[in-house]
Subunit: 258 residues, 4 copies
């Protein structure tokens, strides 16, 4: 089953910091999800919805997941409040082909850890670091047109070692003023779904208003949009070629009789 | 912390088929785990224990896991009876560095799926197929000395597509009489642990009595034995280089003011 | 520099068997290159040219390479007659971003070996084998829509081990009647160019008239078409951040004075 | 053929800067090769020889290559003077299983480029940068025991993008004072040989006297030592299973007759 129409995107946000902290609300008055969604909506050919933690089913009902081609995920302080049942449904959709864009502190989200099978741990510091993201794969659709590097004047620091499986593709490596490095953009395939992790986006900085960051998220959404949807099956199948005639017990277990 | 002494191996087995089915008991009278453990014990320099599903904590107490360098896992009909809590403990030990050898139908075990982050699904058939395993990486320590291929005169068929992340290393590809192929030996690193999946080993066949199969499992155990043990941490760290002086709110959020 | 217009394809063929062997000429009266080019031309939005060994510069002048987005390569009996100078030019274009589709016996072409850095050797047999190609990555653009597998009723056999670096993506694995398996479709990135190797296509069989084979080559061409072109440079660059003040010889070499 | 005795190492050096520049001679009076060889010799169980550009056959006669398990390579100003014939012989030995450790400016050596199939280009600057190498794979035998990171107080800067194929394993990422990052330690398998690239080691700095650098090179040599040697062959093989009876021309070419 191939996908022809416009990719349908759902931007999921924990949406707690914005309500709890005036400094965050000043940056993202309608929430991080709306800042990202607005940037995506300005691109022709995308249908963009949003969902947040405190909605019923975290905004991720079966109907929403069914009609989502790419899910963008931001979370930080409330990973443990995301229900295991919803995580299992999202995971199943990714494995069928839904794209997943994992932003910043969502490295410790249940959904990312369950798809990576790893700790997803890292070093961190909230301070006055500048981050410079080097484009190490400039011909990749996610980073094409971004240039050799771009800078974020202030961001939270994430440092190596980052507890992830070897990425299929490594796209960005960050340099931080304080002396650390980080694999800031990386892709993996799980089942039939494409996953992109992108490091920047601490809630107290205006990162999601940066045009370069918005462009990368848009590029990633287009890259992750599936062309097929393939349910998970484990079929018991008939042979395609003739098998040896059935053998009696003695011959079947001949090795044991050595 | 480096590891100098003999690798300590625990062979885990579901140990249900052997008790329920006389044909299986005839092949593995003391259980699949004891057949594998006996083969491993014949290699100098290994300490080998066993554990099974119906023991308390499935035989995988904190003390056992603490003193296990490589865990070998066989399961089939009772994956769902393995407690989530024990799976979480095993997963944590793998991510700290414990090796894990996953055999045959354990492709659908909770522990393997949780480390792969994928469906681990496949096509299958229990019939009279012959399996020929081609050694596609003959310089790997797991397959060194095995030769170009080896054959199992009768085995359950597993066929592609196999729902796994791209292996770090692909070591065996199987040919089946009935017309299928399968990635039968593959490795991944998760956290600091090394994982090897090895396809053969249906309970109704004498596969684990085959010297070549025994040698591959031994090779894999030696390959997976860790040299370090590194707990999972997410440290908040001080900078290693001087940071820019702290900036006032106006400059921190300058991008937003554009 | 981004690429907006229709991908421009050049199909390169050794074009010797067709002239030397009537059986091959009967199958491909205008040459393998024209059979492939005709199939590609039927797809809207491609500009398709051809080039052959015995043309001046093997048909690959600077102007042709300059205006080629994706190069398709078939060769067999005359790899050694391809000039090293032309190979170097093709290699440079691939590293700048040109796509390269390598067919069948071109596994031993100079251009493929020079981009793989490996032997590219394999086992082989020209006999009456049937080949069944399993689609192990059905969500990849190259194999999307192909189904679970497809069969070629008679083909030359290529068997593992295949002397290639671990592919970035493994797409097809072949099963052969005679008992062998083969990684029949695989991708790599080299520089900014995307490379796809596709196994089928012996000159004495009508493989390139098969609609499924034609579709895979078309899919691969579209997948490999570049979005950027990036020349190879090794720039000597100024620092982006202040360096430590220059130090005198004594301090520079302080380690040596220990 | 398995390898049991002590790994035999040959350290190859261009050995020109040491003769031309007094500052380099002051650091490495007997040459970079002797500094590395001395460090390796202090490890029990290694046989260590050296070879240099200006010896006959660059010191790499058939007999030397035949008896070398791991080759360490440093070159910089005279890559083009290494004969293509010797490079072809070294390449063949690597593909048969010889380990290869490629140091610093040898990223542009003929042998490394021919095994990578890529540009191996990078950004660079010879200035007063400090380099901090982060250990991103601390359970790998090459970096086990190195700690979270180590620093070189002054080194030449190499920056991304680095024109290499995706490494099989990424071990070190460097941070430079001037604002760049670099994949400073990485492994690949080519044929049956294991390759490690390690960035540090500019000739005007005492890098090869650093104990941590010496330990990493030793670790890499032990990691790359082969257990097998497998010549490159492309055998024409008989089938292992019965083939369909031979078919006449009409049926062989049935697809064409559609």
């Amino acid at each position: 089953m191939e996908h022809a129409s416009a990719p349908r995107v759902t931007v999921w946000n924990e949406y707690r910091h914005e309500k709890a902290f005036p400094a965050v609300a000043a940056l993202y008055p309608r929430g991080i999800h709306e800042a990202i969604a607005a940037a995506l909506r300005s691109a022709a050919g995308l249908e963009v919805g949003t969902a947040t933690l405190d909605e019923p089913e975290h905004g991720l009902s079966a109907a929403v997941l069914e009609s989502t081609d790419v899910l963008v995920w931001w979370g930080h302080m409330a990973h443990s409040e995301v229900s295991d049942e919803i995580v299992a449904k999202v995971r199943r959709r990714v494995l069928e082909g839904m794209g997943l864009i994992v932003l910043h502190s969502a490295h410790k989200s249940k959904i990312f850890k369950s798809l990576m099978g790893d700790t997803c741990s890292l070093r961190w510091r909230e301070a006055t670091d500048k981050e410079r993201l080097w484009n190490v794969c400039p011909s990749h659709p996610i980073s094409a047109g971004i240039g050799e590097y771009f800078e974020l004047p202030i961001e939270e620091m994430y440092g190596e070692p980052f507890g992830i499986p070897t990425p299929d593709e490594l796209i960005f490596i960050s340099w931080f003023t304080g002396g650390e490095v980080f694999r800031s953009g990386a892709t993996w395939r799980r089942g039939h779904g494409k996953i992109f992790y992108f490091r920047p986006g601490h809630e107290t900085y205006p990162t999601f208003h940066e045009p370069t960051v918005q462009r990368i998220i848009l590029n990633a959404v287009l890259w992750a949009a599936p062309s097929v949807r393939i349910p998970d099956v484990s079929p018991n199948v008939a042979p395609l070629e003739p098998l040896p005639a059935d053998r009696d017990e003695a011959s079947r277990f001949h090795v044991n009789s050595r």
